[in-house]
């Protein structure tokens, strides 16, 4: 690597947490390369331009095809990246910067303040993710699920999905990456490996916005459980949380905590939290959008509806939507089989965007 000596810590490491899901990016092509000449990197007269500051941090930038040209033609983003690197020119930050620049060139979006990479190129999905993220760093959320102390005694009130995003945003080591494309498992709606989520394009083309929002929340929980188990040393309560996961696995006869089985069984504890996150999204951006008289879930789709949506992943169905298997958690939380099927019907209605769906189309 070619770090400038003035840039602080250097190293050869990679952000391994994002290595799992690199296959699904469906970039729409760069915005650069539009006749702007290649830079003369030795020119002393333009040393203050943002792209030059970025280059000063690491000359590896030159190895990304079209990166310099893109930065020259996107000065606002280049300024943000330059600011981001100004105080953080080290191996970890540069790794994030590279991924972020690459994502932007391919039509994605990088939040350089919150430090999330949104590689979603599907405009509707991109907007939904941004909306889920919007609650972070605001303090006017009703009935928060989680309180986070941000400085001194200042409390940040977040719902659960916001809290998960907050953890990744605050982490200097691991960033959450979301993109659309074809997951390694093309028959599924999404995949999450490490902290990289890929939402299936076919699913985005058929599901309602409400369904897409609940899938994003569901995948965020996978990423959350992944990091809480694998990198517990990064959290003050890391070991006790990890022990809880181990205890749950032992009590439920699950040998692999990193498995689909464990995640979905354990996720039962977050059903209410996920439902509330979905309600808050729906209130602001879904069926409640523009409605100033929403005092609670009952003024919109009703708590039961959001609660039902949070059970995704707790079952399989045949081609006609009849349940063929469920997690033990689903059976414990909803003992009645008819009620379970009704819950599944709600999820499938939104997934298929049929006449019974309450959410709006994602076009």
């Amino acid at each position: 690597m070619g770090y400038n000596d003035n840039c602080g810590d250097v190293g050869t490491g990679t952000n391994t947490g994002n290595e799992g899901g690199t296959g699904g990016s469906t970039g729409t092509g760069g915005h650069g390369g539009t006749g702007i000449p290649n830079p003369d990197i030795t020119s002393p007269t333009q040393g203050e331009e943002p792209w030059r500051k970025i280059l000063e941090c690491n000359s590896e930038l030159l190895q990304i095809e079209g990166a310099v040209t893109w930065l020259q033609s996107h000065k606002h983003q280049a300024g943000q990246i330059s600011n981001y690197l100004q105080d953080n020119c080290n191996a970890q930050s540069w790794e994030f910067a590279l991924q972020g620049i690459q994502a932007e060139i391919e039509g994605g979006e990088t939040d350089w303040v919150l430090q999330n990479i949104n590689r979603l190129t599907n405009p509707c999905a991109k907007e939904i993710f941004n909306e889920l993220e919007n609650g972070i760093y605001t303090q006017d959320i009703l009935h928060p699920e989680v309180d986070v102390v941000i400085s001194g005694s200042e409390i940040l009130e977040l719902n659960f999905s916001e809290y998960v995003l907050y953890l990744f945003n605050e982490s200097e080591t691991f960033k959450y990456v979301i993109q659309n494309g074809t997951p390694n498992n093309p028959n599924a709606n999404a995949s999450t490996l490490g902290a990289t989520t890929i939402i299936n394009n076919n699913y985005l083309n058929s599901a309602t916005q409400l369904s897409i929002a609940r899938t994003m929340i569901h995948e965020l929980v996978h990423a959350y459980l992944n990091i809480r188990y694998s990198n517990f040393l990064s959290f003050p309560d890391g070991y006790s949380f990890r022990q809880l996961m181990e205890q749950y696995a032992q009590e439920n006869g699950i040998s692999n905590i990193q498995s689909n089985e464990f995640h979905h069984e354990f996720m039962g504890q977050y059903i209410n939290a996920m439902a509330y996150s979905l309600y808050e999204w729906d209130k602001e951006y879904g069926t409640g959008s523009g409605n100033n008289f929403v005092n609670g879930p009952e003024d919109l789709l009703g708590w039961d509806y959001y609660h039902a949506m949070a059970f995704s992943g707790q079952f399989t169905t045949d081609a006609f939507g009849t349940i063929t298997s469920t997690t033990d958690t689903f059976q414990e939380l909803i003992p009645d089989a008819t009620e379970r099927q009704n819950i599944v019907n709600v999820i499938l209605n939104e997934q298929l965007n049929n006449n019974d769906a309450e959410g709006t189309e994602c076009n």
Binding site: D9, G11, T12, G13, T14, T16, G17, N18, E19, G20, A91, T173, F174, N184, N185, N187, A188, N189, A190, S191, T192, L193, G194, A195, T196, N200, N202, S206, A207, H218, E219, H222, N226, I227, Y229, S230, N231, F232, L233, S234, Y239, Q243, I257, Q258, S259, N260, E261, H263, H264, S312, G313, T316, T317, D318, A319, F320, G321, T324, L348, Q351
Partner: protein, 231 residues
């Protein structure tokens, strides 16, 4: 036409339809396409991909990737689908390589270097820890540095110690050492979500129905399962 005559005609139509279905199935020796017994685009998936040359693959899993998978050849003989899982490579799982030495010091040193087993790149930020009830927090742990390295210094003992090595995106690995020696340990982590390959297994299913859109098979428990072709 009398009711009896109608029933006789219906009976013969059913016989003819069943025979032609059976005949067309008996003559068909290959399947092509992706077939699943689940509604597509759920969190979970379970599907076969067949090609006309007689090969197939199988995947079962959910958001975190495959739980298990298999590759092999298939045959349709009479009314039986035979799946021969014979071509998946056994999976290389996480492993480690240790070097040891001893001396008269009261303490030992353990130096870990952690790699991604797929490409031998060193892995920073890996959490390495062991459980120790004598410590207030219950464990002792370190993160690997930017070169994938972490060091532990311990008092010599005869009690074995189990280390856990974990990193986001990788499968956890555990190893045990005898703390009377000093160690230099290279750990190779396996990516998470790869699943376990099925190999040296033959599955036979009685086929009840087979056409361009689906096939129905009888499972070992006697249940009829329908697998629909992905459009």
């Amino acid at each position: 036409m009398t009711l009896k005559a109608q029933n006789v005609i219906r009976f013969f139509l059913i016989i003819i339809f069943s025979y032609t279905s059976f005949l067309s199935f008996s003559q068909e020796k290959n399947i092509s396409g992706t077939y699943s017994n689940l509604m597509p685009l759920q969190e979970h998936y379970n599907y076969y991909v067949f090609d006309e040359s007689g090969k197939f693959e199988y995947h079962k899993g959910a958001s975190l990737g495959d739980d298990k998978y298999g590759f092999g050849t298939y045959e349709i003989r009479n009314d039986t689908l035979i799946l021969i899982y014979n071509t998946a490579e056994p999976l290389i799982i996480g492993h480690h390589k240790s070097r040891v030495f001893t001396n008269k010091n009261s303490k030992i040193e353990i130096v870990f270097t952690v790699y991604d087993l797929e490409n031998n790149i060193t892995l920073p930020f890996t959490n390495i820890f062991y459980i120790d009830d004598k410590i207030n927090k219950g464990y002792e742990g370190e993160k690997t540095d930017e070169n994938g390295k972490a060091n532990f210094e311990l008092i010599k003992s005869n009690k074995k110690i189990e280390f856990n090595i974990t990193l986001l995106g990788f499968k956890e690995y555990k190893l045990t050492i005898e703390p009377k020696y000093s160690y230099s340990i290279d750990v190779y982590l396996q990516k998470q979500g790869l699943g376990i390959p099925i190999k040296n297994q033959v599955d036979k299913f009685e086929i009840n129905e087979f056409n361009e859109e689906l096939f129905r098979i009888k499972t070992k428990s006697g249940k009829i399962e329908t697998w629909y072709r992905k459009k």
